[in-house]
Amino acid sequence: MALVSADTKIAELLNELHQLIKQTQEERSRSEHNLLNIQKTHERMQTENKTSPYYRTKLRGLYTTAKADAEAECSILRRALDKIAEIKSLLEERRIAARMAGVYSDTDPPRKTMRRGVLMTLLQQSAMTLPLWIGKPGESPPPLCGAIPANSDYVAKQGDKVAARVKAVDGDEQWILAEVVSYNHSTNKYEVDDIDEEGKERHTLSRRRIIPLPQWKANPETDPEALFSKDQLVLALYPQTTCFYRALIHTPPHRPQDDYSVLFEDTSYADGYSPPLNVAQRYVVACKENKKK
């Protein structure tokens, strides 16, 4: 039943989102008039070549209105973004619930494991749809936005994706992409699942072996400080795998939808690094240890 109600909830939210988008357009056409007025006033001032008190007052009034308009439009857009976030979290909840119940949401007959190629596509999609953080003027990006780490007391929620340092069968330590199952506050340990269903292993790991993945993309145009900078050492998900490896930032993204370009440590290449490869913001985290293994 819970699944059904989530469906109707999502339908409602989509409806609201639709309304909000329509409102945005209304707001936009309303402020258009005022902006035009500002432009005309400036032109007139230019031709008269002097700034009379009349114009000054007029302009001040116009700008105040324009600012109010912009803020109104902005708040509607934020509300729309909130709706999207809400829908996504509902979908996520449903996915987790289904996972727990062992029910597959798909109508297709369940497969034992997802084909790896499909898993890779899903990972790419999740990176692409990671929301972009848009702060209010003067607001600085929060933890878990881009390169900004989580607070020391942060506890990742169930279903969150993390980089987890696990001991492989051969004894080697490896950072893998995992999903949080639970956190035990008394032992301070996480239970995580390997994202790769072929592994299908559950690990119990201490806090320091877990690095939560960013929950927002940082906008290089407005918040460049929230991105890793060139030559910084990071852990990045190797393309088409579910493992994080040490890498140097080659170039940070230039636009919100861009990926990092990174150089993976790779001894099979003469200079010890792979050629530049693209990794999305979602899968690049700070590398804690600076010493090489």
């Binding site: 798909d106 297709d108 497969r111 997802m114 084909r115 790896r116 190629g117 499909v118 890779m120 596509t121 899903l122 999609q125 190797y238 393309p239 088409q240 795998t241 099979s268 490869l277």
Partner: protein
């Protein structure tokens, strides 16, 4: 020339090239004219070709006009020579030459006159023809027709030529198979286009003037030339000359010749055809222009591969079409020859002495009714085939096809998100279609300078292989990738090599060794490996190699298994030992290719098929929806129940599967004895007499034109002896054909059909009795 025809031939000479009239039209006009002559005049004309019957010793074989017509007298031709006029050669009267025609019906006289006109034309052809081979054939036909007039017989081309059809399947069938083989997966509109092209191609071929054997000899090998000469002669006698000479039985080139003729003429014909179209493109009707100029060259190239490819399935006698779509084609109305009539093609044959332009609608019809039976029989076969497929009416399949191809009818818009069940190579296929990735077979060459791009790619391949296969020494990889005997199928993305399969073909040994196979690590798990292997498979089918062998290391076994490789090796050891590179600790794996499978499209085709079946199931569920209480018998301790006893299962149309039903006799001897016994019983049945032996042509002259697959009890006995009946299905099919052939040829109330009815009942009874069929 001391030939009686010499003087009559003066007539056509006075009608030099009649503009606007084809040879054929001219000839039929001439015939009509001659047939309208008064009887006396007709007799005079025939007398010229009739032997003198004055006494046994007179050897004169044709009356010669003592007053040879001169040009001035031509107008007076209507004046018949009197019966008393004496022959210039033997001195006997005309009456003595035509005495045998006295009581002959007007109809027969007219038939003979038709031959006279044809003989005259042939005489002209012999005269004008410059090619020796062709001239010889014309002369032979000329003599043949003369003899027929003399003996009042029907012309039959004799000698070592054989009789049509000369090869099976014929060109028409092969080309239609080709369309179904290559294009049946297309949407119906595009498929229709291809079908139109095939029809056009066949039509062109039927009216195409073949190059003479001497022309052929200049560009072909000796042994081919001999075979071509035979085919050319056949074509002249059975197809080309009869187009304008209706005394001779006429056959369509595409129906009596098969692959071997097409092989000899395709290259040159294609060139001429395309050239013709190119030159005359402005005369083409606009709606045909794109069809011909854009699709036709591609169509011909694809066809070329099937004509010259060693393993093309389209020439197999038992080529079965991918059922649903294939048959649909077969049923489509045959295109009118409008596609090519009019300007462009009618000229193909002009300039030849005998050929008519013959593309107007009347002449392009096959002349006799019997020939049309062929295609009809074919569609009948197709119809049968589809019924076997599972009783799904064509309309239903079409309807379902519509819903799955029409995105609007599907649930919601297509998402970019691939479903969890998407085929492994789906993404790769899409990327290739969009041009994001490319596949090229490349290799190094010592004899010619390699182009720079290819060398760069080879270096790229060497890098990919050495990175992905760290256990292989780099030098070793380099040596093989650059070895001219090795080739590599390269996967290119953004101009860079991101993967490839290095292989070595051993055509003499009938297999190819897969040497290296890798995709660069950051491009893995995208289906590229699968798509690479599928491309490699198609490449090999094209080159006639149907086995892959490879030594797979422990990490590669999984990949090769997914690509259809197995550890079961069918290629005999002697064929690969000493050829293939042996790696210690690796597992030898093999993959056998099926030339009928379009590998790069396979998963897509299967997906479509699944969709169709799913839709069909949904429909069925809508029709019969009933919930039965569950089975309780298992709780009561019953271990197993027969499937058919499950309530409701029969209503769904379920039938026990053929496999279970038949439980095919494992022991071939047991089956053999059983069938032998059965056949003996059938042969002794009192109503079996009409079917004991093959139908004699003397008794039913047209039998073999009507019945495509003759069969009789004697032939069946021989087949049984030769162990042809390896399954009972084959046996029953032949038995059934005895009956259906009989019903097809004979009227239902005939004695024969009555026998067939009784015999049919009898043998079905016997089959049941023997447990070979149910119920």
């Amino acid at each position: 020339m001391a030939d009686p025809a010499a003087q009559t031939s003066a007539q056509p000479r006075l009608h030099p090239a009649r503009p606007g009239l084809s040879q054929q039209q001219w000839s039929s006009q001439k015939k009509a004219q001659v047939r309208a002559f008064p009887r006396a005049k007709k007799l005079e004309k025939l007398g010229v070709f009739s032997s003198c019957k004055a006494n046994d010793s007179c050897k004169c074989n044709g009356w010669k006009n003592p007053n040879p017509p001169t040009a001035a007298r031509m107008e007076l031709q209507q004046h018949a020579a009197s019966l008393t006029e004496v022959c210039r050669s033997c001195g006997h009267s005309l009456a003595e030459h035509v005495s045998h025609l006295e009581n002959v019906s007007e109809e027969e006289i007219n038939r003979l006159l038709g031959m006279v006109v044809d003989v005259e034309n042939l005489f002209m052809s012999v005269h004008k023809e410059e090619d020796t081979d062709t001239k010889q054939v014309y002369f032979y036909l000329f003599k043949l027709l003369r003899k027929c007039i003399l003996q009042m017989g029907k012309p039959v081309v004799e000698g070592s030529l054989g009789s049509p059809p000369f090869e099976k399947p014929n060109i028409e069938q092969g080309v239609l198979n080709f369309v179904q083989y290559k294009f049946s997966h297309l949407a119906s509109k595009e498929r229709q286009t291809m079908y139109e092209l095939s029809k056009m191609f066949l039509l062109c071929l039927n009216y195409w003037k073949l190059e003479t054997p001497s022309q052929f000899r200049q560009r072909a090998q000796k042994e081919d030339a001999a075979a071509y000469k035979v085919d050319y002669t056949r074509w002249l006698c059975y197809c080309h000359v009869p187009q304008s000479n209706d005394s001779l039985p006429r056959y369509e080139t595409c129906q009596v010749f098969g692959r071997s003729l097409l092989k000899s003429i395709f290259t040159i014909t294609r060139r001429q055809l395309l050239e013709k179209f190119r030159v005359e493109k402005d005369k083409l009707p606009p709606e045909k222009r794109t069809l011909i100029l854009t699709h036709f060259p591609k169509f011909l190239s694809m066809l070329e591969e099937e004509i010259y490819g060693e393993n093309s399935p389209i020439w197999e006698a038992d080529f079965t079409m991918p059922a649903s779509e294939g048959t649909q084609l077969g049923h489509q109305t045959v295109l009118s020859p409008v596609a090519v009539s009019g300007s462009p093609l009618s000229k193909c044959t002009s300039g030849s002495a005998l050929a008519g332009s013959g593309l107007d609608s009347t002449s392009s019809e096959p002349i006799t009714g019997e020939k049309r039976k062929l295609p009809e029989a074919l569609t009948l076969e197709d119809a049968k085939r589809i019924r076997v497929m599972g009783d799904i009416p064509m309309e239903l399949v079409n309807e379902v096809m519509k819903t799955i191809t029409d995105p609007a009818a599907m649930l919601g818009p297509e998402t970019s998100l691939l479903s969890a069940n998407a085929a492994r190579d789906e993404t790769a296929r899409l990327e290739e279609r969009r041009g994001i990735i490319e596949f090229h077979v490349i290799g190094n060459s010592l004899s010619q300078k390699s182009n720079k791009k290819i060398l760069m790619w080879l270096v790229g391949l060497q890098n990919v292989f050495s990175h992905q296969l760290p256990r292989m020494p780099k030098e070793y990889i380099t040596r093989l990738v650059f070895d001219p005997k090795h080739k590599t199928l390269a996967l290119i993305k953004d101009g860079r090599v991101i993967g490839g399969v290095c292989f070595r073909m051993f055509p003499t040994q009938g297999f190819t060794e897969i040497v290296f196979c890798a995709v660069t690590s950051n491009e893995q798990v995208k289906g590229y490996g699968t798509h690479l292997m599928n491309h490699l498979k198609e490449y090999h089918i094209k080159h006639g190699i149907l086995f892959f062998l490879t030594y797979a290391d422990e990490y590669a076994i999984g990949y090769f298994k997914k690509q259809g490789f197995s550890k079961d090796i069918k290629v005999p050891k002697t064929r690969y030992l000493g050829y293939i590179k042996d790696y210690e600790g690796a597992t030898l794996m093999e993959c056998e290719l099926n030339p009928r499978i379009p590998y790069t499209e396979l998963s897509h085709i299967i997906k479509r098929q699944k969709e169709i079946i799913k839709k069909l199931i949904e429909r069925k569920q809508n029709q019969i929806r009933k919930v039965y209480p569950g089975l309780t018998c298992f709780k009561e301790g019953v271990r197993q129940i027969p499937v058919e006893s499950i309530p409701g299962i029969r209503e769904t149309g379920w039938k026990p599967s053929a496999k279970e039903k038949s439980k095919e006799l494992k022991d071939p001897d047991l089956l053999y004895n059983m069938l032998k016994n059965l056949l003996a019983q059938i042969k002794t049945h009192p109503d079996a007499w009409p079917f004991m032996e093959p139908v004699k042509k003397s008794e039913a002259p047209d039998y073999y034109e009507v019945i495509r697959f003759p069969i009789d009890l004697k032939t069946m006995t021989e087949r049984l002896k030769n162990r042809y009946y390896v399954t009972k299905k084959l046996f029953i099919a032949d038995l059934q054909r005895v009956i259906t052939n009989c019903r097809e040829y004979n009227p239902p109330d005939s004695e024969y059909c009555k026998c067939a009815n009784t015999l049919e009942k009898f043998f079905y009874f016997k089959l049941k009795e023997a447990g070979l069929i149910e119920k």
